[in-house]
């Protein structure tokens, strides 16, 4: 006798199929051996319950993604990875508590990265990514969670030792300093330059030469990727607008706008960096799949950066006067070489 599955069983089955990647209704329908309309109804129910979300919708080509809510952009990780992350977070929080400290989110994340990137931990396969504030675990480090040890680590004692050393070394440091040191330790120049730039424009009196020096290096280090041309185009535009503005107004007068624009630009760059680092991992090498997770975030951040840059550019244009600006003598050779170049083929 064939027993009919209950609605809950079917929904569980749908969630199981969505564990590893987003799937279209058509694919799900086949896996469930059901029809399109029934599958769609269950998915809509799960969506209302906050367990799945529709990420692409074009007529009948709807694609759904499972929401775990514990990884950045809901990027899927395996059950084992999830257990390892939770266990690691649990060990870290426990160690902090033993040392009479309570870690904040950054401390928890940065300690986890330190462990994962230490070969002796045996956890180097756990995914970490570059994002807004540097290198972080793909699973969100949430200090409000009651993490438990769900996995038996082979090198548990070594892991605890790494955690302890990290806590001792960083106990008197502020969050920002821990972040900056991490950018140096893992040698990402772009993040270091972002730190330097923010430090310079945080001062009361601005040194344009130093600011330009940092931005010039930012220009060199900024990735130039054919798929994400805007990362370089926007960065270049930000740098050139600031440099040009300095001819017509004191940069400090535009501090808020410069800060806001850099913030919007950095969010876009960091989301790209996230995409770049995660796409290097074999599991996420399918760019079409990755675009389903990150496409929307990249697109929103791109629009925000573009809008902010446009505002900054308007400020520059409003200050632009018609005074004659002369080329510095050392640049004349460059101008001489480029004089026949009009950008045409």
């Amino acid at each position: 006798m064939v027993t009919r599955k209950t609605a809950e069983q079917i929904k569980e089955e749908i969630l199981f199929h969505l564990n590893n990647e987003p799937i279209s209704i058509e694919q799900l329908r086949k896996k469930l051996d059901s029809n399109w309309s029934t599958t769609n109804n269950y998915l809509e129910e799960l969506s209302r319950e906050g367990k799945v979300k529709e990420i692409i919708s074009a007529d009948k080509a709807k694609i759904y993604q499972r929401i775990f809510g514990d990884t950045y952009f809901d990027i899927p990780i395996s059950l084992e990875e999830r257990k390892k992350f939770r266990t690691l977070f649990s060990l870290i929080i426990k160690k902090y508590k033993e040392m009479n400290k309570i870690p904040n989110k950054t401390q928890l994340a940065k300690t986890a990265v330190k462990v994962i990137h230490s070969p002796e931990s045996g956890l180097t396969e756990l995914p970490t990514v570059w994002y807004l504030y540097g290198l972080i675990p793909l699973m969100i480090a949430d200090t409000s969670q009651d993490y438990q040890e769900e996995f038996v680590f082979e090198h548990k004692q070594k892991i605890i030792n790494i955690i302890e050393v990290f806590i001792i070394e960083n106990q008197d440091k502020k969050t920002k300093q821990i972040q900056k040191e991490q950018h140096k330790e893992y040698n990402d120049r772009l993040y270091q330059l972002s730190d330097d730039f923010l430090e310079l424009i945080g001062k009361n009196s601005w040194d344009n030469n130093k600011i330009f020096e940092v931005l010039n290096e930012f220009f060199i280090v900024c990735p130039l990727n054919e798929e994400f041309k805007e990362v370089f185009n926007f960065t270049e535009r930000f740098i050139s607008t600031i440099r040009k503005l300095s001819h017509f107004d004191k940069l400090e007068n535009n501090k808020t706008k410069i800060l806001l624009t850099f913030d919007a630009l950095w969010k876009f760059i960091a989301t790209y960096k996230f995409y770049e680092t995660i796409s290097l991992k074999r599991k996420f090498s399918d760019k079409n799949l990755l675009n389903l997770y990150l496409g929307n975030a990249i697109s929103v951040r791109k629009s925000c950066a573009e809008e902010s840059l446009s505002d900054l550019y308007s400020i520059y244009l409003s200050k632009l006067d018609n005074k004659e600006l002369e080329l510095a003598p050392e640049t004349e050779k460059v101008r001489e070489i480029m004089q026949g170049w009009t950008g045409g083929d």
Binding site: C222, R243, N322, E326, A328, E336, Q339, G344
Partner: protein
């Protein structure tokens, strides 16, 4: 009254590149044409977009040069945004400047580029009188017809914009410094081609702007 001038992108770029007593002939001609302004200056939005594309491309060329100074094994050819012509300029820049310390060269290039950009923006703000034919209103039928003769799509959009405007206005001048596609003979040929094509979007007896190709002017 002086006829208005509809300016091609290359004329503005040459004007901006001018350096007293140090510029090649065509740059001096373009500089003089704009400095001794007679009549209104008009550009189309396709030209405006092209100017911003030129700015972006110059930045990419400079970034590539800096990358090669930093690492001589860096290859310009890998950058798909650069044409062969762009690469030849990048190579010249690299060969001339490779001995300069990276940090210093970076500042030199940034400084040259900012003056280049400011001059374009000053031109747009203080010398330009009118921007015409928004991109979405460019007549595609006309663009495609021009493309049967001229391969560069960006050039076709600029010419189509000029021809569209001409059919609504008194005769103006189309001012260019393009020596390959828009020499006087090629322009005559293009006009005949369009007249014979009897495009629905052009009037029976279409009007064409008067060509001023500064490459061929004394």
């Amino acid at each position: 009254m002086n006829k208005a001038s509809f300016l091609d992108t290359n004329v503005i770029i040459h004007y901006v590149n001018y350096k007293e007593n140090k510029s090649i002939d065509i740059i001096t001609k373009c500089y003089s044409y704009i400095s001794d302004k007679q009549g209104k200056f008009i550009i189309c939005y396709a030209t405006l977009n092209e100017l911003f594309d030129v700015i972006k491309k110059r930045a990419i060329i400079y970034k590539e040069v800096l990358a090669k100074v930093e690492n001589p094994n860096h290859s310009f050819e890998k950058n798909k945004s650069l044409s062969k012509r762009d690469i030849s300029y990048a190579e010249k820049l690299y060969l001339t400047n490779k001995q300069i310390e990276l940090k210093k060269l970076n500042e030199i290039l940034a400084s040259e580029r900012e003056i280049f950009e400011i001059k374009i923006e000053q031109f747009l703000k203080y010398q330009l009188d009118e921007k015409v034919i928004p991109i979405e209103t460019i007549n595609i039928e006309l663009v495609n017809k021009i493309r049967e003769i001229i391969l560069n799509y960006a050039d076709c959009k600029i010419l189509a914009s000029a021809f569209q405007l001409q059919n609504e206005r008194d005769i103006f001048k189309f001012v260019t410094a393009d020596k390959t596609d828009l020499d006087p003979n090629s322009y005559e040929y293009l006009k005949e081609h369009l007249e014979l094509s009897k495009l629905s979007s052009l009037s029976k007896k279409p009007k064409f702007p008067e060509l001023v190709n500064l490459m061929f002017e004394n």
